[in-house]
Every structure is written in structure tokens, then in C-alpha cells.
Assembly symmetry: C2
Homo-oligomer: 274 residues x 2
């Protein structure tokens, strides 16, 4: 509603959320699927050279970390003059990003920022003012920018909690410091998964998410026993999304490395027992 | 976006918020102002008999309590087959209402329900499914109803806090019990204001809000001194909205009668001193 306005846009589909973005966008203009990994069950980001980009697109939409599928971008394509619009909901603040490479960055707060119900949008100034007149005022970036994001009462308490999280993150050393922790956490879990035949992660090495690590037991008849034992060990919410199945470990900024170590210890014990 | 879809609708303008609703609606269809009290500076609800209602309207929109202007509806007009859509943001849960009289009731949570950022919408079932195809999924009542208001992750923590407020309200005896307290609180303050020439409230008696009580000092040069002294006495946020000026006491469910008594004591002392 803010950029397309009946025009054309490119979308790259690398998982459940970028697919949902297409479904939500089709009412507003001509949507071109520039690339998709759906045929490979969303286990990679298609090679940039294979993307069919449209030079007349109002924007190129990507989801830089697919929460459900555990797929993370390992860079950005050359999009020329077409601004990149990125849904960063599930990995924003997990690693430094160069905001100048994007036209729009957006995301829900509920992973690394604060409570669900707060959203963040970062818009390049020249992209303001392109909204359809049918854009509701609370969704209109220009109206919000002109009103310091307070066209209506904003979610004040959620903003307050986000402020506490920002202070906590700064106390950890900021985004560059937490990235090192996130790399260490992710490597620990992927290395263990890759070291055994008992568990498997199917995502291409270069696109494995640092935040969301889906994995499967080779013998899926053990899924219920795995989850029951995990819960008994205080390891919660490990069931994979119903669209993907299996298991998923979400290890956002707030998860300490000790949590990942505890998960691996349990996974090793479960493997030995079965 | 959910009801109008290029058609016609009636709006009644009784203050700042119903006026804003018109401004937001005009992009979506033909808006008829059925009645307005703007010429009287929003100090009443125009007599129902004077409303110019359109039988072909998709709905009749009202704001049953105007937060900024302190104007509350004292009943409902006969609207025939035209469903009434009511913005109840600032007095919902302050008094019993008969939901069957409305097509749609909506409001922000931040007065009597919970934190800002949570919204409530109550829709008569036959009014679902009339949305424009350009309605964003999170705003589409039918889509939300089909997904139990969880088309995306809802504001979970705000919902949790709202649950605590509901428990508190039930412990007070529920909406019927809190209404008695609200009547007592409002009467106390209006009676005092009416008993003196030092302060004045200009709203028609039958439309005086129980939640938001704007008042003016006859000598407005004392405004700053009044506010400074109020703050020193722990009486906060009394400055009237910039659109109205003067003072405003918002006495939502959470404000105990002792708070109103403290305000009146201060107002009496200030009057004596000046």
C-alpha cells in the first residue's frame, strides 16, 4: 500500500513468511516471483544469478530470515535502482546490517526487540509519499513519519520494554558483540547435528539461520518421546512448525549459550538411549 | 474498509475523535455528515430528531464518548436497518451496554482495558465478509474472525495484562458495580464545578461524560499556576487537550473516588487562594 500502488513488484520466496507476503501483496498490483525455493522445500536462498528481476519493479521484497524454515540470507543481490524491502522480523539486532543497502526494513518486535504488537519500519526518505490514498493512516509511512510514529497513541508499554531490551543489548556490547555469541551458539548446535546420523538439518550450509534451527530425527516415530523428554528437562517449544514438522530450536539474542549446551546434552542423551 | 467498500455511510460528529473518523473514512466512499455539534464547539450530542439519516447508508458511525471534549451519548438514535458502528474507546467497560443494539463496537484498550496497542472489535456476524479486497489481512474482520484474532501473532503481553484488568473488574463486582462508582465520581466533580463561578464545564447536562471531565478556570491567566500547584499535589495530566484548552480530569475505572476527592480539595483550596 505504501510503495506498489497498482504497479509491479518482485518477490523472492524462501519460506513461509515470504510466501505469506506474496499472498498479502497480490491484491495491490502485479507481483512477479523473481525466485523461489519452494520446490526444494525452502532449504536455501536461490543463487542470486538465477533471480528474474524486473527493472520496472517498485521494489524487490525478501525475507532475510525465515523463522519457520530456518533459512537466512548470506548477502544481498544486485538490484540496481530497485529498492530492496526486507522483512527482518526474526533476525533484526542479531547481527550488524548496513541499512543503506535497503529501501525499507521492517519487522515485528517479538524476537529480538520486545513484546509482540510492536512493529518497526525503517524507510529511506525518498520512498515516503508513494502510498495509495486507500492506505489506513496508521499504516501510512509518510503520515507516521510526519507524526513521529504517533498518529494514534502508540503501544507505549511495549516501547518501554523495547527500551529496556536495547539497554540490555548495549550492556552486552551491542549488535557486533551479540553477533559473536549468536555465531558461537549456532555453530555449536549445527556442528553437533552434522556430527551424527540421528538428527538432520536440511538447509544449505550458507543459508543456515543463526536464529532458528529446524532439525529432524531420522526416526520420526521418536518425535513424541523426544519432545516429552525435552519438556521434562526444561527445554520448551521445540516442536517444529506444523508446516515443516520435526523440531525447531529458536535461539534468539535472549537465549544464553548455556541453553544451547543444555539442548545438545539432552539430544546426546536421547540419541544414546535410542 | 470492512463495510463501506465504495458505498455511502452516515457519520455524526460530536468531537475530535468522530471528526478524525470522518477524515479517515472519506477515501473509502461517500460520507454524509448526519449531524454535527462543531458549531457549538462540541458541547453536546445533537438531538436525534435532527439527524439527517440516509436509509442506504452501509452504517451509521458515532463515537459514544469523546475523550477530548468530554461528551458522552445518553442513548441511541433509531437507525432502522442501518447498523450502528460505535467507537467506544474511552468509555467501554465503564457502564453496561446492550451489544445487540450495535452492528460494530470498537475501541483502543488504553482506557479501561489494558495497554495501548491492543484494540477490541465486536462485529455482528452478518456484517463480516463485506470487506474491500484491499483490506490488509490484520484489519480484515472476517479473516481475523476465522483465525481467532490470530492471523499474525497478536499482542500477547497486552492481552495478558487485559486479562488481569478483567479479573480486577470482576472482583469489583463487574461493569454494573463499577458504573455506580463512576456515577458517584462524576457527580462529585460536576456538582462541585457547578457550585462555583470559579470553574466551568460547558457540556450539556445530558451529555456530560463520566470518564472525561473538561473544565475551564474563569480566569484563564491562572491556568499555569493551577497546573503547577496540581502537580505539586500529585494531581497529574490535568492540562486539557490543545484543541480544547483549559483542564481535563480523566477519571477512568482505575481512578478511585479518593482521587476525585483529592482533586476537588485542591480545586477548592486554589479557588480560596485566588
Amino acid at each position: 500500500m505504501n510503495l506498489l500502488n497498482g504497479g509491479e513488484a518482485d518477490y523472492v520466496v524462501t519460506g513461509a513468511w515470504s510466501k505469506r507476503s506474496v499472498e498479502d501483496a497480490v491484491a495491490y498490483g502485479k507481483i512477479n516471483i523473481a525466485a523461489s525455493s519452494e520446490a526444494e522445500k525452502f532449504t536455501n536462498v536461490p543463487a542470486y544469478s538465477s533471480w528474474k528481476l524486473n527493472k520496472n519493479a517498485a521494489y524487490l521484497h525478501i525475507c532475510t530470515n525465515e523463522t519457520i524454515n530456518g533459512v537466512e540470507f548470506d548477502g544481498l543481490p544486485e538490484s540496481g535502482d530497485v529498492p530492496i524491502v526486507a522483512d527482518m522480523s526474526s533476525h533484526i539486532l542479531s547481527r550488524p546490517i548496513d541499512v543503506t543497502q535497503y529501501g525499507v526494513i521492517y519487522g515485528g518486535a517479538q524476537k529480538n526487540i520486545g513484546p509482540a504488537g510492536l512493529c518497526i519500519v525503517i524507510v529511506r526518505e525518498d520512498l515516503l509519499g508513494k502510498a495509495s490514498p486507500l492506505t489506513p493512516a496508521v499504516f501510512n509511512w509518510k503520515t507516521q513519519a510526519e507524526n513521529q510514529s504517533m498518529i494514534n497513541t502508540p503501544p507505549t508499554y511495549s516501547i518501554y520494554i523495547a527500551g529496556l531490551v536495547f539497554e540490555w543489548l548495549l550492556a552486552q556490547g551491542g549488535v557486533a558483540a551479540i553477533e559473536k555469541v549468536n555465531i558461537a551458539k549456532a555453530n555449536l548446535l549445527y556442528d553437533y547435528i552434522d556430527s551424527t546420523d540421528f538428527y538432520v538439518n536440511n538447509v544449505a550450509l550458507k543459508n543456515r539461520s543463526r536464529m532458528n534451527i529446524p532439525f529432524f530425527l531420522k526416526d520420526e516415530s521418536l518425535n513424541d518421546a523426544f519432545l516429552k523428554g525435552a519438556e521434562a528437562n526444561g527445554l520448551l517449544q521445540l516442536k517444529g512448525h506444523r508446516m515443516v514438522g520435526g523440531m525447531r530450536a529458536s535461539i534468539y539474542n535472549a537465549m544464553p549459550i548455556e541453553g544451547v549446551q543444555a539442548l545438545i546434552s539432552y539430544m546426546q542423551a536421547f540419541e544414546s538411549a535410542h
